[in-house]
């Protein structure tokens, strides 16, 4: 069944988009991530312009992270204090990100920047995660005890604050910086940033695993809501019809993914996720390096009839 997308200005097959939403939802449910880093490239692949894809995926991620956040809230697995500090950074970062997005679009370098950020971020995070998963897997094979957590330089920073539910005592400076960073890249790349935020919170900020995913989902939810609003108000690029199809497919797929994820061991899961992220990054890298089929592109600057 063909459906005409009003903002993307393109007819698409509803079932194809629904299936893409479900597939990405499955992966996101399995690994507990938003899945934006998979959804945006897939949309670009079926012919939707990167700008519309990034803006529309933001609302899709907002929907899936809201349903996740509700579940974690009921389980009391969200740290409200930590979430609000992250958020004040996140909202600033998102606003900066959308502003940069608009500037880059005017310069004609938006597509390049989206591709470059994907390459840098995904290959780095992907290989780190893959290596970490591999190390953890080998440790459990040998039956060794994981090394004890130690305090690092971040815990020496001033402006400390007590986060009760997470049972940590931490400076607000790194938390604010992390929030800003995630908000910024999220708005430019059309990703929730969960797959970067969770490792940073665990390894750098030493947030306990019990509150990490729920709290990161709150940040994802709010930054993506703000990104949707700003993209809609300034660039008019959010395709609500596309977003709705993605949401319906995504939330359904996520439920089955979550069940599948519980059957796989943590280290293997991280290994798989690392591989997945790495391969998306490599795909973008290959695209940048090989000679494009057509060296020319056209962009309309708005019809004035």
């Amino acid at each position: 069944m063909q459906l005409y997308l009003p903002i993307a200005d393109l007819p698409v097959n509803v079932f194809l988009v629904l299936a893409m939403g479900a597939a990405v939802g499955f992966v996101s449910g399995m690994f507990g991530i938003g899945g934006g880093f998979l959804m945006t490239p897939l949309l670009i692949f079926i012919g939707i312009t990167p700008a519309v894809a990034v803006a529309s995926v933001a609302s899709h991620i907002a929907a899936s992270s809201f349903s996740g956040a509700l579940t974690y809230w009921r389980r009391r697995a969200i740290d409200p204090a930590l979430a609000s500090v992250l958020l004040s950074g996140g909202v600033t970062g998102t606003a900066l990100g959308v502003w940069t997005f608009t500037q880059l679009r005017a310069l004609g370098q938006l597509d390049l920047m989206i591709a470059l950020s994907y390459v840098v971020l995904l290959t780095t995070v992907g290989s780190l995660m893959f290596l970490e998963g591999l190390r953890a897997l080998m440790r459990t094979r040998r039956g060794a005890v994981p090394p004890r957590r130690q305090h690092n330089w971040i815990h020496g920073l001033p402006l400390k604050m007590r986060f009760k539910r997470s049972k940590i005592y931490l400076s607000v400076i790194p938390v604010l910086i992390v929030g800003t960073l995630i908000g910024f890249i999220g708005a430019i790349m059309g990703i929730g940033g969960g797959f970067i935020l969770v490792p940073i919170m665990i390894y750098l900020l030493r947030v306990p695993t019990s509150t990490v995913i729920g709290t990161s989902m709150v940040l994802t939810l709010v930054t993506m809501l703000v990104a949707t609003m700003l993209h809609a108000a300034t660039n008019h690029l959010v395709d609500a019809v596309l977003a709705l199809i993605l949401m319906v497919g995504g939330v359904t797929g996520a439920q089955f993914g979550a069940r599948a994820g519980q059957k796989i061991r943590g280290e293997q899961l991280r290994l798989l996720l690392g591989l997945l992220i790495l391969s998306v990054g490599v795909r973008f890298a290959v695209e940048l390096v090989i000679r494009p089929d057509d060296l020319f592109t056209i962009r309309e600057l708005g019809v004035s009839s």
């Binding site: 996740g68 004609g108 609500a240 977003a243 390096v289 600057l301």
Partner: protein, 255 residues
């Protein structure tokens, strides 16, 4: 006296040029784009009406139909290899060029008229005026300019620019028709159709008609709201996202 004579000549020439009249119509003056629109074809038909002043030896006519969609500014960018990766470097801005452009005729353009007239009457994609901004200047460039030909090639690939010198068919020596194919991603707006009649290589007369392409229903509503009330549209999208997420957490609640 000289002015009067000139006037007389103009009047005479004018009456000669009016010896034929074109009567045309399109099959549909208002094309609606619905959610499941996947392109369609309009039909333009018409006839050449002769009157008493038409020279008797004039029997064979040639016809050129130009269809122009709403005008817009467009930027064509060229990628170049920089530091091993392909980056947009140079660009040209095309000012107020048609978003849809189709040229149809009953036989090859160069057989209909001389290159000089073809250029003046903008017959053929190579002769249509596409104004560019070249470092502060406004001008069209030579037809084989890299940016101009890339622009036409890309628009042609998407089915938005086309020329077909065999699309017009004469059913009788004076009755003609042609199809106007509109692809799925056709731009919305007013389309101007210009029909030019040639005889023996000279322009005899021309006429114009128009049709409109509009989005209707939900489509139209979403597109206009997004452009005119971005903030409200954003709020609605956000509300929709929250509703979907909330419903999912209720439906799939495991307890």
């Amino acid at each position: 006296m000289r002015v009067l004579l000139a006037l007389l000549v103009v009047l005479l020439l004018g009456s000669v040029a009016r010896a034929e009249r074109l009567i045309v119509s399109v099959s549909n003056h208002r094309v609606t784009v619905t959610p499941n629109y996947s392109g369609e074809e309009l039909v333009l038909f018409g006839s050449v009406e002769k009157d008493a002043t038409t020279p008797a030896d004039r029997t064979a006519y040639d016809l050129v139909v130009t269809v122009m969609g709403p005008r817009a500014d467009m930027v064509t960018r060229r990628k170049e290899r920089t530091f091993g990766i392909w980056i947009n470097t140079d660009y040209r801005q095309f000012l107020q060029v048609p978003s849809y452009l189709a040229l149809f005729a009953n036989r090859p353009f160069d057989a209909i008229t001389s290159p000089e007239i073809a250029r003046r009457q903008q017959i053929g994609l190579n002769n249509v005026l596409l104004t560019q901004r070249v470092s502060g200047d406004f001008a069209d460039v030579v037809p084989n300019d890299a940016f101009r030909s890339a622009f036409i090639r890309l628009r042609t690939q998407r089915g938005l620019y086309r020329e077909d010198p065999s699309a017009v068919t004469f059913l009788t020596p004076t009755l003609f028709r042609t199809g106007i194919p509109l692809p799925a991603e056709v731009p919305i707006g007013t389309y101007e159709v210009e029909i030019k009649l040639f005889a023996n290589g000279a322009l005899v007369t021309k006429t114009e008609t128009a049709f409109e392409i509009v989005k209707v229903g939900f489509e139209q509503f979403v597109a206009t709201t997004a452009r005119q009330n971005g903030l409200v549209y954003g709020l609605a999208t956000v509300a929709m996202a929250l509703m979907t997420g909330w419903m999912a957490s209720i439906v799939f609640r495991k307890d």
